[in-house]
């Protein structure tokens, strides 16, 4: 019974990682760029939702889409402003820029919002306790995986059943050939950033509901771990990122549940996993391409 409870917790955490990991994997699939700022984009999404809910009194089902839209705009702006001028530059230059953007967002957040954590009120519907027999679960833990699954189903539909999605898949294969076919690759890249950032915002809002303390550095660790999840699943592969996120979430929760002595090492688990994957199966679980 206890194990089942932990399993649900792991599933919840894993869905959050999955939602953030998808943004990494989509951008990496197309541009071969680790978008370091992704975790911080998620942080901005959290604050946007917080402003909507706490300052303007919007209900969560309004402030969530608004936050997603604003964050999508931010993602596109980062791409156009900071990454697009470096498309033809060595890849490391873009990576350094991404680190710079990440620090810029964090420190701007610290200047604007201050370092003091902000309380994020959980909406009523996510704050109930569901009880089945001995099993007591917070409704948030049940709803997070469900909503994640819905969002991901929608995303897969876009990627595999629409013309834009086809263009995205094509661009990730070979960007110059696709440009010759008359596809405006910049629009596709911008769309990728928009979708990825919106998902990060959604993930971030649920993250903030699970750990209801906002601070400008909250995106750093989830961001890094989500990247590990993306590599675990096979970078560039959306379904792989989902799977990787779930595995990582479950592994972390199980480590804490089964080996409480090692609980302090929880944050290191993701990186140990990463090193293991790169050593033994660098393509991840579902990936095809080899890293360089």
């Amino acid at each position: 019974m206890d194990l089942l409870q932990q399993f649900i917790n792991g599933l919840t955490l894993g869905s959050l990682y999955a939602m953030i990991a998808i943004g990494y994997t989509m951008v990496y699939g197309i541009l071969r760029l680790i978008n370091f700022a992704h975790g911080d984009v998620m942080m901005v999404g959290c604050y946007a939702a917080w402003f909507g809910a706490a300052q303007f009194g919007l209900p969560w089902w309004v402030s969530l889409p608004v936050a997603m839209a604003l964050t999508a705009l931010l993602g596109v702006a980062i791409d156009q402003g900071a990454y697009r001028p470096l498309r033809r530059a060595p890849r490391i230059s873009a990576l350094i820029t991404a680190i710079g953007v990440s620090f810029f967002l964090e420190n701007l957040g610290l200047v604007i919002f201050g370092g003091r954590p902000k309380a994020f009120a959980r909406p009523e519907i996510f704050n109930q306790i569901y009880q089945w027999g001995e099993l007591r679960v917070l409704s948030l833990s049940v709803w997070t995986p469900v909503i994640t699954a819905l969002i991901l189903a929608g995303l897969l539909l876009v990627i595999y059943r629409t013309r834009v999605g086809m263009a995205m898949r094509a661009v990730s294969r070979d960007i110059s050939t696709v440009e010759l076919m008359g596809v405006d690759s910049n629009r596709i890249v911008a769309l990728t950033f928009a979708l990825g950032s919106a998902l990060a915002a959604a993930g971030g809002v649920f993250w903030a509901m699970k750990y209801p303390q906002l601070n400008p550095l909250l995106g750093v660790l989830p961001g890094l771990k989500a990247f590990v999840a993306a590599v675990l699943g096979g970078i560039g592969n959306v379904a792989g990122a989902m799977l990787g996120g779930l595995i990582l979430g479950l592994a972390e929760i199980m480590l804490v549940a089964l080996m409480p002595d090692l609980a302090g090492y929880r944050d290191a688990l993701a990186f140990v996993l990463l090193i293991g994957i790169l050593l033994f199966r660098p393509t991840g679980i579902m990936g095809e391409k080899l890293p360089e």
Binding site: R32, L33, I34, A82, P85, L86, A89, R91, I92, S93, L95, I96, T97, I99, G100, V101, F103, F104, N107, L108, L110, V111, V220, L224, F227, V228, V231, G264, Y265, D267, A268, A270, F271, V272, L274, I275, L278, L279, P282, P291, E292
Partner: protein
């Protein structure tokens, strides 16, 4: 001599023996002048200036050795905070007196051999450097199986792991409480002495056949391997050497600020070093030195943006934390508009300086 050495033996144009002797004398004279200036600073300048000068010396060590792996070998890695942490902890654990250790390890006592050791600074620093180099050596095996941005993320992960270990290994690191009561032993001479040693070793290495092999790996690893360079061991050489110096600098840093805790060695530290070497010019030792000094003193100067100011009759309240925003904008700006940094891959040379002064024959 290694195979790589024989292939790249052609090297730069052979200097006339006289020119080389002249350069050696000039370098020695410059060292003497620098020593004199340090002596002057120590005796005449205020404590604050001395502190900043000491700190800039440590940043020179860190930047030059970080540049060896990132700039010269082209392996973009993000782990110096781990090396600095390792060096700082090892040195501090060796030099703090057993009594002091007993007093600060409240939650769990320090494990046996460390709890009784009490060494002077120099042997402690050397041991710390060797320990850090050993850590880099072990790390190198998984790290150099990947390249490019994967290498960046794996090394970043190592940095995080080291921080998590420092936070949790209570009986060695005292956990989040950190170590305190470290003697304030680092002065100008220690910092700039280590800086001089680092510069000497790194410059000699870069100008040797090994250095040329490292640059060949940076330009095109596959081609370098085809020329018979063992890329893995050359990368390992650069990595462990830079770890050795970063570890020693970490030890001196611990003895400068006298209190260390895991929160000091976050990715933030690596980020600062990254700014230094990118602004100075990736792959230029002179650039790294220049960047380090600019960063230490520029950072102080930038405090202006955090202070309250009156601009065009408008009162602007002080904005704490604004400095880091400016730093990150500088990094992005340099990448977008001046990717070469200040010096690109150019180096200082006496021939260049003499030509500038109108005393030599043409550029190097």
């Amino acid at each position: 001599m290694s195979l790589a050495g024989r292939i790249f033996k052609a090297g730069p144009l052979p200097d006339a023996a006289g020119t080389r002797r002249r350069d050696t004398w000039l370098t020695l004279a410059a060292c003497a002048l620098g020593g004199g200036l340090l002596w002057l600073a120590e005796n005449q300048a205020g404590g604050y200036v001395v502190h900043m000068l000491t700190l800039s010396g440590l940043f020179v060590v860190l930047a030059v050795s970080y540049n060896l792996i990132n700039g010269f070998t082209g392996q973009f890695s993000l782990e110096p905070n781990a090396f600095v942490a390792c060096g700082a902890y090892v040195t501090a654990l060796l030099t703090i007196s057993p009594l002091e250790k007993e007093a600060s390890f409240i939650l769990e006592p320090l494990i046996w051999p460390l709890s009784v050791i009490h060494l002077p600074l120099l042997p402690a620093l050397l041991i710390a450097g060797l320990c850090t180099a050993l850590m880099a050596f072990v790390m190198g095996f998984p790290v150099f199986r990947v390249r490019g941005d994967y290498l960046a993320i794996v090394t970043l992960g190592f940095g995080e792991v080291v921080r998590v270990v420092a936070n949790n290994a209570q009986s060695v690191t005292n956990g989040p409480l950190g170590l305190k009561g470290i003697a304030h032993l680092t002065n100008l001479w220690w910092a700039w002495g280590l800086a001089g040693a680092t510069l000497f070793v790194v410059v000699r290495l870069v100008h040797s056949s090994y250095g040329r092999a490292l640059k060949a790996i940076r330009e095109d690893e596959t081609a370098a391997e085809a020329m018979g360079i063992n890329a893995f061991w050359h990368k390992m050489l650069a990595f462990t050497l830079s770890a050795f110096f970063e570890g020693m600098a970490g030890g001196l840093l611990a003895h400068l600020i006298t209190t260390i805790s895991p929160s000091l060695f976050t990715f933030f530290m690596t980020f600062n070093l990254l700014i230094i070497i990118v602004v100075g010019g990736l792959g230029s030792t002179t650039g790294a030195v220049l960047g380090a000094i600019l960063f230490t003193f520029g950072g102080e100067w930038l405090r202006v943006v955090e202070e309250p100011a009156t601009l065009f009759g408008l009162d602007i309240p002080g904005i704490p934390g604004m400095r880091m925003v400016v730093f990150s904008l500088i990094l992005v700006g340099v990448m977008l508009f001046a990717r070469q940094g200040i010096l690109g891959r150019n180096e200082f040379s006496w021939r260049w300086l003499l030509a500038r002064l109108g005393m030599g024959r043409g550029r190097a």
